[in-house]
Each structure stands twice: as structure tokens, then as C-alpha cells.
């Protein structure tokens, strides 16, 4: 292993943050989600903490194992973010709220995770499907995208008939 920029548990720590954020978000928007969801996410975050401790106490010499466990956990957190976004958009049919969630949480979460995984994997001898080196400058583009999506979603959320009216005016 040539260079380790940070311990793989940092990926798990990001995953824990995501689970905690989703737990609080689903508690704040309790009418939109099942009652048990915040607690499920809290347990998931707690499990992540437990796994970090297990890594520290028992798996410290097994670097590859630690990496794959952490990557799996972060992937689970990201999948949950995606699923939550789809749930709002498809099951609840709240496209504007789904847009806000996408711009404010889902896109930043995915891009930051990808950035960390990329910087961790590139240059290390961990066998993994090819992953490009993601430049830090790409975050500017991601941030711009987020702002556009977020602005549009907020506008549609505040004025749901805005798009319809525009079409009617053109006609």
C-alpha cells in the first residue's frame, strides 16, 4: 500500500452522518414518512459506530476488510438517500419537495462520497473496478447544479401553478 490519505473508517463516519441527517429529517417531516423511520436510521447510525469500534479493536491489521466494510456501509447510506428521494417523488407525488431534497441533500451527499472514495482508492492497491480521479474543482459544478435544482424546486413548491401559467401566457 503506497499511500493512505485517511483511514477507511472516515467513509463509514460519512455514512453515519448521512444516516443521522436522514433520521432527523424524517423526524422533522414526520407526516411524509413512516413513524418508525427516524428510529431505524438512528439504529443504523449506532450500528456504524459499533462497526468503527470493532474495526479499531479487532480488525486493525486487516486493512482490506476494513475498507470493504466501510464502503458497504457508505453505499447503504447512499442507497437509502436515493430511496428516500424516490419515495418522496413517486410514492408521495411531491415532486417539488423531492427536488429540494435532491438539490440540498442527495446530490451533495453522492458527490462528496464519490470524491472521498475516489481519493482513497486511487493510488492504493485495493482491487476495485476502475474509478476516475475526481478533481476537487468538480465540486463547483456540483454546487452550481444543486443551487439550480434547489431554486427551481423552491419556486415550484411556493407557486405550484407557476409553470402552468407560463405555458398559458405563451399560448
Amino acid at each position: 500500500m503506497s499511500r493512505i490519505p485517511f483511514p477507511p473508517e472516515l467513509l463509514m463516519f460519512i455514512g453515519i452522518d448521512f444516516f443521522v441527517a436522514m433520521s432527523l429529517l424524517s423526524a422533522l417531516l414526520e407526516k411524509m414518512f413512516p413513524v418508525a423511520l427516524p428510529y431505524v436510521y438512528q439504529i443504523a447510525a449506532l450500528a456504524g459506530f459499533g462497526q468503527i469500534w470493532v474495526d479499531y479493536a479487532f480488525l486493525f491489521p486487516y486493512f482490506d476488510t476494513r475498507f470493504w466494510i466501510c464502503l458497504l456501509y457508505l453505499s447503504a447510506a447512499l442507497l437509502n438517500i436515493g430511496a428516500l428521494n424516490l419515495y418522496i417523488a413517486v410514492a408521495k407525488k411531491l415532486l417539488s419537495v423531492a427536488g429540494i431534497f435532491l438539490g440540498a441533500f442527495a446530490i451533495p451527499a453522492f458527490s462528496i462520497s464519490l470524491l472521498f472514495i475516489s481519493s482513497f482508492v486511487n493510488g492504493l492497491s485495493i482491487p476495485m473496478p476502475w474509478l476516475p480521479i475526481i478533481p476537487i474543482e468538480s465540486l463547483y459544478g456540483v454546487l452550481f447544479c444543486c443551487i439550480v435544482v434547489l431554486s427551481l424546486s423552491i419556486a415550484v413548491y411556493i407557486e405550484p401553478n407557476m409553470l402552468k401559467r407560463r405555458k398559458e401566457v405563451k399560448r
Partner: protein
């Protein structure tokens, strides 16, 4: 309190508890992650570059140099009441490295009949009775040391002990002294 405000309170309490739980989980995880950053592996053992070696008076002082030359104890050092006894080269300090090293010999602690001691001094010299290196260590004085001294590569210096008991000291009186040798860049 009506039902609406009760529900509101319950909701607030639930969110507050979730918030507390979240803070705890994240803080605990972060602290373990911090440990992971601090854990060093592997830590290997290597030969000390500066070691204690025997000198002219080592046998008289009962010097017992530990394995690897990183420890020395004197089992038969003695002083006289109202007169100074000097072990000019109780033990040697040798730099086995190819580069010079900064070393400091410092007083650590002492115990026993310390009130019966007139003085015990320790001096590092280049040879027995030769040039003094650094300052004199006054045993019993906290922080007393030779100061930082540079021992050239391949050189052996000697440690001189001077002991003087008070006039009323008895043969049953005894003290134990501990010094530390600090080696920079080991």
C-alpha cells in the same frame, strides 16, 4: 393543556431525544476515528545508538549494564562521612552512530537517608579526569542536568560520581538515586 399542544410537546420531545442521540453517536464515532488516526503500526524495536558501556571504575562501582546497553545500575557504590569519594569513570556513554548525537543526563529522583548526604554530584567528562562536558548534576536538586551536550560519532565519554556523606552518617545509612539519559533523534 389541550390535545393539540400535547401532541406538539411530544413531537418536540421526540425530536430533541433524536437530536441528543445523534450528537452522541456522531461524537463517539468521531472520537474512535481519532484513535484510528493516532494508532501507529507497526512499531519495531531497534538497537539503541547511544549505549552505556563499561569504564575504568565500573567494576569498583559494581556497574551492571543491562542487555542492549540501555540501562545501568551500580550495586557497590559507597561514600565516606566528611570526605569526598570519587568514581572518576563509573560508567561510559558511547555513541555507536555514524553521526553526532545530543544527549542530556538529568537527575530524576532519590530516596533513603537523603538528610545525611552532604552532596552527590555527577559529571560527564570526555575521559577519566578529563574535560567536563556540560554542567554538573547536583543530586537532589530537581531539574539538575548536564544540559544538552553533543557526543561525536563513535566517541565514548565517562560519567564521574562524587559522593560525600555528612560527618554523623552511619554505615547503615543508604540512598538510592535515579538519573535519566535523554538521547535526541533516536
Amino acid at each position: 393543556m389541550n390535545e393539540k399542544s400535547q401532541n406538539k410537546s411530544k413531537r418536540l420531545l421526540r425530536i430533541f431525544l433524536l437530536l441528543i442521540s445523534s450528537v452522541l453517536v456522531v461524537t463517539a464515532s468521531a472520537s474512535v476515528l481519532n484513535y484510528l488516526y493516532m494508532q501507529a503500526s507497526p512499531i519495531t524495536a531497534e538497537t539503541a545508538k547511544v549505549q552505556f558501556v563499561t569504564a575504568e571504575d565500573s567494576e569498583a562501582a559494581g556497574a551492571n549494564i543491562g542487555t542492549n546497553g540501555t540501562y545501568v545500575s551500580f550495586n557497590s557504590m559507597a561514600g565516606w562521612p566528611n570526605a569526598t569519594r570519587v568514581y572518576q569513570a563509573a560508567v561510559g556513554i558511547k555513541n555507536f552512530d555514524t553521526a553526532s548525537r545530543n544527549i542530556t543526563l538529568i537527575f530524576d529522583s532519590w530516596s533513603g537517608d537523603t538528610d545525611q548526604i552532604e552532596f552527590i554530584t555527577v559529571i560527564v567528562r570526555d575521559t577519566a579526569g578529563g574535560t567536563q562536558q556540560g554542567s554538573t548534576i547536583n543530586v537532589g536538586q530537581q531539574g539538575s542536568s548536564t544540559g544538552k551536550i553533543t557526543i561525536p560519532a563513535g566517541t565514548t565519554w565517562v560519567v564521574e560520581w562524587s559522593i560525600k556523606w555528612k560527618a554523623g552518617a552511619l554505615s547503615t545509612n543508604a540512598v538510592s538515586v535515579t538519573l535519566q539519559l535523554l538521547v535526541e533523534g533516536e
